[in-house]
């Protein structure tokens, strides 16, 4: 099986289109979306529709949960809260129905998918360090897990009783005795100082995980956000990639 794994699109249609175009060339069997299709950007509905069309496995992110009123946005920072309210106001019934069917966790043979952490997926934990990753990996029902949420391409690996290892996302061949939690980075709002859209391919036959970075028309996305009067912080961070 060959999976393309995308996450954190954040209503960025240009980034999603560019990534899907690249995926078309990769001969994958399934496209998996790890959630946060919406929020921050101006094109929630087209992005929800495209994900629905191309992805066979769809996970729920905290931005979907917020738009559906399943979680409070009280603790969000002002920019995130403004964008959550904007998104909620701009979704239609069809998009709401689609995202309400997204699942919190999904398992396939040998692989597990979640938006945030395998430890308590519903509390949207950020896996940013080895302690948090170790706790998450220990909860994974499969040896290899994929997540998103932090917008940082990252690999955490756990081999026997060795300390958890943390490396920046890069293409690699998983070791059969090691457990991995692989963050695929963000399609629509990368935060690792590289503004290009990020996604990964997992080939279970070749036993290889490949990280991909894709250029897209950032300026068009930013112009649309300016027109929609979305917070300056959210617009500026796209070209900075952080």
């Amino acid at each position: 099986m060959r999976y393309a794994v995308i996450s954190d699109i954040h209503a960025n249609l240009e980034a999603l289109t560019a990534v899907l175009k690249d995926i078309e060339k990769q001969s994958v069997d399934q496209v998996v979306c790890l959630g946060d299709v919406i929020g921050y950007g101006v094109d929630p509905i087209p992005c929800v529709d495209l994900v629905e069309k191309h992805c066979s496995i769809k996970l729920k992110g905290n931005h979907e949960a917020a738009a559906l009123g399943e979680v409070s946005t009280d603790h969000y920072n002002p920019a995130a809260r403004h964008s959550a309210e904007w998104t909620r106001a701009h979704l239609n019934d069809s998009a709401r129905n689609i995202i309400s069917a997204y699942v919190m966790e999904h398992e396939e043979p040998g692989v597990y998918f979640v938006h945030a952490s395998p430890l308590e997926p519903t509390t949207w934990r950020y896996v940013l360090n080895v302690d948090e990753a170790g706790a998450g990996i220990a909860c994974m029902p499969q040896r290899i897990g994929f997540n998103g949420h932090t917008h940082l391409p990252m690999i955490f690996s756990s081999y026997k009783k060795n300390p958890i290892r943390q490396t920046i996302g890069h293409s690699f061949c998983p070791d059969p005795e090691t457990r991995y939690l692989v963050n695929v980075g963000a399609v629509g709002q990368p935060r690792d100082n590289d503004p290009r859209a990020s996604y990964a391919i997992f080939d279970t036959v070749e036993e290889e995980i490949t990280f991909k970075r894709i250029e897209y028309d950032i300026k068009t996305t930013q112009d649309k956000m300016i027109q929609a009067e979305l917070p300056e912080l959210l617009i500026a961070r796209l070209s900075a990639g952080r």
Partner: protein, 230 residues
């Protein structure tokens, strides 16, 4: 302590600082430096350190070990030398950059349910605090005059003077020793005083972007940053 910067196709993926006298390099996870890719042998090479020098020794690997683009079987390493193995470059530094710890390789991590529970409990507590104050908060950890302090302005001052926002203890501290300043993407701590020190997670800093869970120490007082997340 020596340092190895691991790059994959020109992107830094890992930094290893170690006191070990011998570092094994290979594809399998029982090596000290794991390079999980085809083109790397299971036990590809080792770096041995003694008091005077470091030597890289190829372990009869299939695709070879290169130092500064030259194939080697055994080679003394100099500062900034680049070892190439498959698609990886390992840059050798005789001394790690100051102020950066090397716990990744040498630390131990034991997972147990107690640790899980503690993580979950801390997280829940932090979420409740952030919700209560409707914003980011500093928690007083050591020698602090408060247990919770709402970060309700763009600049928070730390020091010995009475007029600062957060009064800290420590003989060498200046009146204003540090300030926490709102920046794009979060808050950053700036050290201002000359004799006293400001630390983030135990590391002396002049300037550092502070993240959720970071410990800020000014003199003898320590505070934990609990950030409102998005």
């Amino acid at each position: 302590m020596p340092e190895i910067i691991v790059k994959y196709e020109d992107k830094v993926i890992e930094r290893i600082v170690t006191e070990k006298k011998r570092l094994s390099i290979g594809r399998t996870n029982d090596n000290d430096i794991v390079l999980e890719n085809r083109g790397v042998s299971r036990k590809h090479a080792v770096i041995e350190f003694n008091d005077k020098a470091a030597v890289v020794i190829d372990n009869e690997s299939l695709n070879g070990t290169f130092v500064n683009n030259r194939k080697v079987t055994e080679e003394i390493l100099r500062d900034e030398d680049i070892i190439t193995i498959g698609k990886y470059s390992l840059i050798y530094h005789t001394q790690a950059a100051p102020g950066q710890g090397g716990t990744e390789m040498d630390g131990t991590m034991v997972l147990n349910t107690k640790k899980h529970r503690q993580l979950v409990q801390n997280d829940r507590m932090e979420r409740e605090i952030v919700a209560k104050y409707d914003g980011s908060v500093l928690l007083g950890e050591e020698n602090a005059d408060f247990s919770e302090f709402k970060i309700d302005r763009d600049i928070i001052t730390f020091g010995k003077a009475k007029f600062v926002n957060v009064v800290c203890r420590g003989f060498w501290l200046s009146g204003i020793q540090a300030k926490l300043v709102k920046e794009e993407g979060g808050y950053a701590i700036h050290n201002m005083g000359k004799k006293g020190k400001t630390l983030v997670n135990g590391e002396v800093v002049d300037y550092r972007l502070v993240r959720n869970g970071d410990l800020i120490t000014v003199g003898k007082s320590t505070f934990k940053m609990v950030e409102r997340k998005d």
